[in-house]
């Protein structure tokens, strides 16, 4: 039974999010990017629309629309702006995800309803200055002190973790060594107002300039025992699972960005006349657009299949890594050619493809670089 038909709900969702992105985000995207400014107002509006908590059950304030729906929503936001897609993708997969899947009943009740409303945001703190691709290099430690834990260390590049809406950040720490002598990891839910926590917004980014990125410092930061996420020692596993899901949303950003850049390039090529005719009438340009459309179609099918596998509770990890890799890389091709088709104007900020060209680059780096995705895939295929 092979069907490519979306449900009515998924189609309505796509229309709604597309209209929303076009009406609310597109008019201000360029300005927010230029000013490197995170928008609390737009984040709230995205929350009101219901873009947080799409895979969360209704009892905690989610909509249970599922993974395909979630990916369609991210795709439609990314079609207009990468930064706002990042707020949604990280807010859901990295912020809400670990609390929903691994949190205690109390933790879920405490955080999820506000997170699903978009009233608050949660960060996911894994990366450290010396531990990027290799999470094994983590130096942030948590040491027991009576019922409490004392955390020391730092995190870098943490999305949604230093803005007025941040309520909590999931922080991965080293809590000792396991029986095999390896580092044992555990995650903690750290409220934004915890004494000993310093959260600084990072500036000077090439891309995702209106998404909030934080540097976190923990200085003898005390958290109670019930801040532990799941059980002690489960941190590594929690991180891997979170990243598996996160790959789907990063892939959706690549797909949506590619779609947006392609549409801009197509429209421009139909209007721009050189040598007495629209430039799309030259085979050199038409073939670029044909390549773009073909790659986007292939990418969409791969990603939706990965989401479908996840919804069917089948193993989806290999296809998720492939989708993340492929969607980010076709976006690079599409964004680059979209600028090419715009000629000199594509290099100017007034044209959206300039921003798409920059925003694309993160997708080959964040949540596991393309090299790391290839490592993951090569393991799955038995290399």
């Amino acid at each position: 039974m092979l069907s490519f038909e979306l449900t009515d709900e998924q189609k309505i969702l796509r229309d709604t999010v597309r209209d929303f992105a076009q009406n609310e985000i597109a008019p201000v995207a360029q300005e927010l990017d230029e000013k490197e400014q995170f928008s609390v107002e737009l984040t709230r509006k995205m929350g009101e629309l219901g873009l947080f908590g799409m895979f969360v059950s209704e009892e905690y304030g989610g909509t249970e629309m599922g993974y395909i729906a979630y990916v369609i929503a991210v795709e439609e936001i990314a079609r207009v702006d990468g930064s706002h897609a990042a707020t949604i993708a990280a807010g859901n997969s990295l912020g809400i995800g670990p609390i929903y899947y691994f949190g205690s009943e109390d933790q879920k009740k405490k955080y999820l309803p506000d997170l699903c409303e978009g009233e608050t945001l949660a960060g996911f703190g894994l990366t450290e200055p010396d531990a990027g691709s290799d999470a094994g290099g983590s130096k942030t430690t948590a040491v027991r002190d009576g019922d409490d834990w004392i955390i020391n260390g730092s995190k870098i590049f943490i999305t949604n973790a230093a803005n007025p809406l941040t309520s909590v950040t999931v922080v991965q720490t080293v809590t000792g060594k396991n029986d095999k002598g390896r580092k044992e990891y555990s995650c903690f839910l750290v409220p934004a107002d915890t004494p000993g926590l310093t959260a600084n917004e990072m500036h000077g980014k090439l891309m995702w300039r209106s998404s909030n990125t934080a540097e976190l410092f923990f200085d003898d930061m005390r958290v109670p025992g019930n801040a532990l996420l799941g059980k002690q020692g489960e941190g590594f596993h929690q991180m891997l699972e979170t990243l598996d899901g996160g790959r789907l949303s990063i892939a959706a950003m690549g797909l949506g960005g590619a779609q947006g850049a392609y549409e801009k390039a197509l429209a421009y090529s139909q209007e721009r006349k050189q040598f007495g005719k629209p430039i799309c009438k030259n085979q050199a340009i038409a073939f670029k657009l044909a390549n773009m459309a073909t790659q986007i179609e292939a990418a969409r099918n791969m990603l939706y299949k990965a989401c479908w596998q996840r919804e069917q509770k089948q193993p989806f990890q290999k296809l998720a890594a492939m989708s993340k890799l492929f969607c980010s890389e076709i976006f690079r091709y599409v964004a680059s050619e979209a600028v090419q088709i715009h000629g000199g104007y594509g290099l100017m900020k007034e044209y959206d493809v300039e921003r798409f060209f920059r925003d694309q680059k993160l997708l080959e780096i964040g949540e596991g670089t393309s090299e790391i995705q290839r490592m993951v895939i090569s393991r799955y295929i038995g290399c």
Binding site: D8, I12, D15, E48
Partner: protein
């Protein structure tokens, strides 16, 4: 109070340039087109929701909003979209666009009014594909109900017994009061933040334009009922009174010119455009 709102699906007006005419010129082909609710009908749904909104922001309505459409089976998607905005239920009367005219639509609506006994029917002032602007007037005539067309502002008293309607007319506005039951047709301005005043949710700050179908709304809409009927079920006389002779594409717009001076512009506006 019960409000019936009509909704027709139309080819995405933002992509209207993709509409093609069949070889013999007698039909518009819908191949590859995306469908949307007619914008003026979406405004009608928004107006109905605003009229019935309560004062405490509970999200509950002080009555029922029923969305009615005549069209093929696939229009359930556009009905669900209206239900996701907040309407309560839908009625789909199956029918093909090329076998309908404004009179058949009005007759069908009249039968549904008989069946549903609403206090108010709200229609878009026109569908943006056919642009006929006739169905609401015909319906009011058949029913013998008062009508207020081109509503840009509606005020209803707390007891929902009537409406004071500001109508958009050439060069200004006309204010009329209609007692319910009545037929309204709505214009663009009805969805400005102050387009509807129901004297209960006073001072409520509406966003510009019709509300989005929120994700929660979409999930709720899944469970809302859509009744399916045929024109025969309703006993509608299906004799067409309008016969389409042919369609032609609008002439391609010729390129603009850039003028050097203001004097030249004034000259051209006077001599060529003859608007001065």
């Amino acid at each position: 109070m019960k409000i019936l709102v009509t909704m027709k699906r139309v080819a995405d007006p933002d992509n209207a340039n993709k509409v093609k005419i069949s070889g013999d010129g007698t039909q518009v082909t819908s191949e590859g087109l995306e469908w949307k609710p007619n914008p003026f009908d979406e405004y009608g749904v928004e107006a109905a929701l605003r009229i019935l909104e309560d004062g405490v922001g509970s999200g509950k309505l002080r009555g029922e909003v029923v969305v009615v459409t005549i069209g093929p089976e696939e229009v359930t998607q556009q009905i669900r979209q209206c239900l996701a905005m907040g309407a309560d239920r839908g009625i789909l009367v199956s029918g093909d666009d090329d076998k309908l005219d404004a009179m058949i639509v009005a007759r069908t609506m009249a039968k549904l009014v008989e069946k549903e006994q609403p206090d108010l029917v709200i229609m878009g002032k026109q569908a943006v594909d056919g642009d006929s602007n006739q169905a609401s007037q015909m319906l009011a005539e058949i029913l013998g109900w008062p009508q207020a067309t081109f509503a840009g502002h509606v005020e209803v008293p707390e007891d929902l017994s009537s409406a004071t309607v500001t109508r958009e007319v050439d060069g200004g506005a006309a204010k009329v009061k209609v007692a319910f039951p009545a037929v309204l047709s709505v214009d663009l301005r009805i969805v400005t933040p102050t387009g509807v005043n129901n004297n209960v949710a006073a001072g409520k700050d509406y966003q510009e334009g019709p509300r989005y179908a929120s994700l929660r709304g979409i999930m709720k809409a899944k469970k809302k009922p859509i009744d399916k009927l045929t024109l025969d079920d309703l006993g509608v006389d299906r004799t067409l009174q309008v016969r389409t002779v042919s369609f032609t594409q609008p002439a391609a717009r010729s390129a603009g010119v850039i003028l050097e001076t203001v004097q030249e512009l004034v000259q051209k506006l006077q001599d060529e455009a003859k608007v001065l």
